[in-house]
């Protein structure tokens, strides 16, 4: 009983009443205490008990204090009870009726029934942990007790709550749309669970599941937008869709690439392709996954990733290393060049110009002069002149 604190009994902002029950007695472990007849209120954040005779006598305990609860059925002359096992009181707890207790559990005795419903609601609140999503003015002790595998439905409930409040002002359509959305999400959640269990099966039996089945599974994941839990595949998240896409890209990008000196950044490709499509656009991930397959499908383009992380598509016939030789010539002619200047001269994007100069530097042909005026490249005379 020492986990309880005195309270006004008023709900805080963000705290909502879930259920209440008259005629409840509190017991400290096995011992009776003076709180023998009161109203027990369950909110999203706390368990509150108010004396029926003296309304000013009101105590509360945060739900986060509760480890777990048990039911005790009624017997002859005995009311049904809920036993709540508690965490030790926190040191910064507000003052309460008891300084110490030799028990780490309390009993709630339902003299006027209502135990079944209350137990159900209390279980729900403890599972959902809504108090974590809606901090109130009080100091709520948050349990650092991660329960692995627990599904956090709090987000959805929290949102539901906010919308309930707005419902008066907002269009009725939204609330209906939202209800339908919630139902839809419940079904989507089932799909996620199923996919997890299949993924586990696949993991366990690497090599025993056919490639065909794996591909099927991946395409299901793609449809639902579920991240592939079985990563480290030979070709990433590739599915038949991405293979087809890769082939399409090879067709679409041939000419644009030739027009741009054989190389384009992936962002340029993304814009070009999507502008051309107009509808049924590609997601950035679709593009990347398709491009990753270009090489293995022996298409005339390939994906290249520079050290900086910049990703480009090149024609197979394009040889960046050869371009470096001509870059060196250009830089030598001018004495020195920044990426901006080089880009303007050659007619390429600054992003790719920089990558080419960096590559030239990596290959030892250029030297850098890094100052506040910018990054400038010079021919590497250390190499050419002894």
């Amino acid at each position: 009983m020492d986990r309880f604190a005195w309270t006004s009994g008023l709900l805080e902002l963000g705290e909502t009443l879930v259920v209440q029950q008259r005629g409840v007695r509190l017991c400290d472990g096995e011992e009776k205490v003076k709180f023998d007849s009161g109203v027990l209120l369950l909110s999203t954040h706390r368990l509150i008990w108010r004396d029926q005779k003296n309304h000013e006598c009101c105590i509360a305990i945060p739900l986060s204090q509760i480890v777990f609860i048990e039911e005790q059925a009624a017997g002859i002359g005995k009311s049904a009870k809920i036993v709540a096992h508690l965490h030790p009181a926190s040191s910064n707890k507000e003052p309460g009726p008891f300084q110490s207790s030799k028990y780490s559990y309390i009993k709630l005795s339902f003299k006027e029934h209502g135990q079944i419903e209350f137990f159900r609601r209390l279980s729900e609140e403890i599972t959902q942990r809504r108090w974590e999503n809606m901090p109130t003015g009080q100091t709520i002790q948050v349990n650092k007790d991660p329960q692995a595998g627990r599904i956090r439905a709090v987000g959805i409930v929290g949102i539901e709550r906010k919308l309930e409040e707005k419902r008066k002002e907002t269009d009725k359509n939204i609330s209906e749309a939202f209800e339908d959305l919630s139902k839809l999400m419940e079904k989507a959640k089932e799909m996620v669970e199923l996919s997890k269990s299949i993924a586990n099966k696949i993991k366990e039996k690497q090599g025993d599941i056919t490639e065909d089945e794996t591909i099927r599974f991946k395409s299901y994941l793609l449809s639902m937008g579920i991240a592939n839990p079985v990563t480290r595949e030979t070709y990433g998240s590739g599915t038949h869709y991405h293979m087809q896409l890769a082939k399409q890209l090879a067709g679409i990008l041939q000419t644009p690439l030739e027009e741009r000196g054989g190389i384009m950044s992936l962002t340029e490709v993304y814009c070009l392709v999507n502008r051309a499509r107009g509808l049924e656009l590609l997601s950035p991930e679709d593009l990347v996954n398709a491009c990753k397959m270009l090489e293995s499908l022996k298409l005339p383009l390939r994906l290249r990733i520079f050290d900086s992380g910049v990703m480009v598509i090149e024609l197979q016939s394009h040889n960046e290393e050869e371009m470096v030789a001509s870059a060196l010539e250009t830089v030598s002619e001018k004495g020195s060049l920044t990426a901006d200047e080089f880009a303007k001269l050659v007619g390429m994007s600054v992003l790719l110009a920089k990558e080419r100069l960096l590559l030239a530097e990596k290959m030892g042909h250029l030297c850098r002069d890094d100052s506040v005026e910018g990054l400038r490249f010079y021919p590497n005379l250390f190499m050419t002149q002894s």
Binding site: R152, V154, G155, I156, I159, L163, N173, I174, A177, F178, D180, L181, S182, L184, M185, K187, A188, E190, M191, V192, L194, S195, S197, I198, K205, D208, I209, E213, R216, F217, Y220, L222, S223, M224, G225, I226, A227, Y241, S265, L266, Y270, C271, N274, L279, E280, L281, L282, S283, P284, E285, D286, G309, V310, M311, V350, L351, D370, S371, V372, G374
Partner: protein, 258 residues
């Protein structure tokens, strides 16, 4: 006495049992895949129904989009992962965000020479809205953030940096570590920052402050004003939006120069 589990016979039996388990296991996976396929079809139907009733809501209402995205995230689903996903195909959310991605890339590219590849979310928002025209559907800052998060995977340095109460959007592959970010946040209040301010607010040594500022200068994200009274000021064009809001003609610009 009967010795159990030894001998060639036992080994053969064990192998047979294992093979049967594996076979059964494969069959189990096959069953589950078939089940998933069926459930997918059902889900698709549910989604179609939802779309027929509420597709407009998603299109028109940014708030509803936020709720939708949050719920998807909560259950572990990414509706924007692929244009081929059900969500994208039936609700049209994909096209909305992917097109927005294109518009964001274009705005950032256009302004890069001025701000070095750093722009506030507000300004990006304004520019994107301008580009979309009067009759296009409304786009919220939350929409922009989600679109940008998706763009990261393209490798061209898209990133989001929280500053003050808002965000800076980075669109170049420049290395911005914690030190740089913190200085950007400090500069957010006035649009510029000085070495002394960094020293007093962040309690850094002069050398550290100078390194960060020089890096920002090099990247073109900061401009140096040596004519400021007192000490040099490092201005961030990304934060100083007044610079862009005035459309100055070349003639006016000429006159402005003393």
């Amino acid at each position: 006495m009967h010795r159990r589990g030894v001998g060639a016979g036992a080994i053969a039996k064990k192998k047979l049992a294992e093979a049967k388990y594996k076979e059964r296991g494969t069959v189990l996976a096959e069953d589950q895949l078939a089940q998933m396929s069926k459930q997918l079809d059902m889900f698709k139907t549910n989604l179609e129904e939802f779309a027929s009733k509420h597709k407009q809501e998603i299109r028109k209402n940014p708030e509803f989009r936020v709720q939708f995205q949050d719920m998807c995230a909560t259950i572990g689903v990414d509706p924007l992962a692929s244009g081929k996903g059900f969500w994208s195909e039936m609700l049209g959310v994909g096209d909305f965000y992917y097109e927005l991605g294109v518009q964001i890339i274009e705005v950032c590219l256009a302004l890069k020479h001025q701000n070095g590849g750093l722009i506030t979310l507000e300004e990006l928002h304004q520019q994107v809205l301008k580009g979309r025209g009067k009759f296009a559907q409304d786009v919220s800052q939350d929409d922009l953030l989600r679109a940008i998060k998706k763009l990261k995977v393209l490798g061209s340095g898209f990133g989001i940096i929280p500053v003050g109460g808002t965000y800076l959007v980075q669109s170049v592959p420049a290395e911005l570590n914690m030190d740089h970010t913190v200085v950007l946040q400090l500069a957010e209040k006035k649009g510029y920052v000085t070495v002394s301010e960094i020293r007093s607010s962040l309690k850094w040594e002069t050398e550290r402050a100078k390194q960060v500022l020089e890096h920002l200068l090099k990247e073109g994200m900061a401009w140096l004003d040596t004519q400021a009274a007192g000490e040099p000021q490092y201005w961030l064009p990304a934060l100083f939006t007044e610079l862009y809001s005035q459309e100055i003609t070349p003639e006016e610009a000429q006159e402005a120069i003393p």
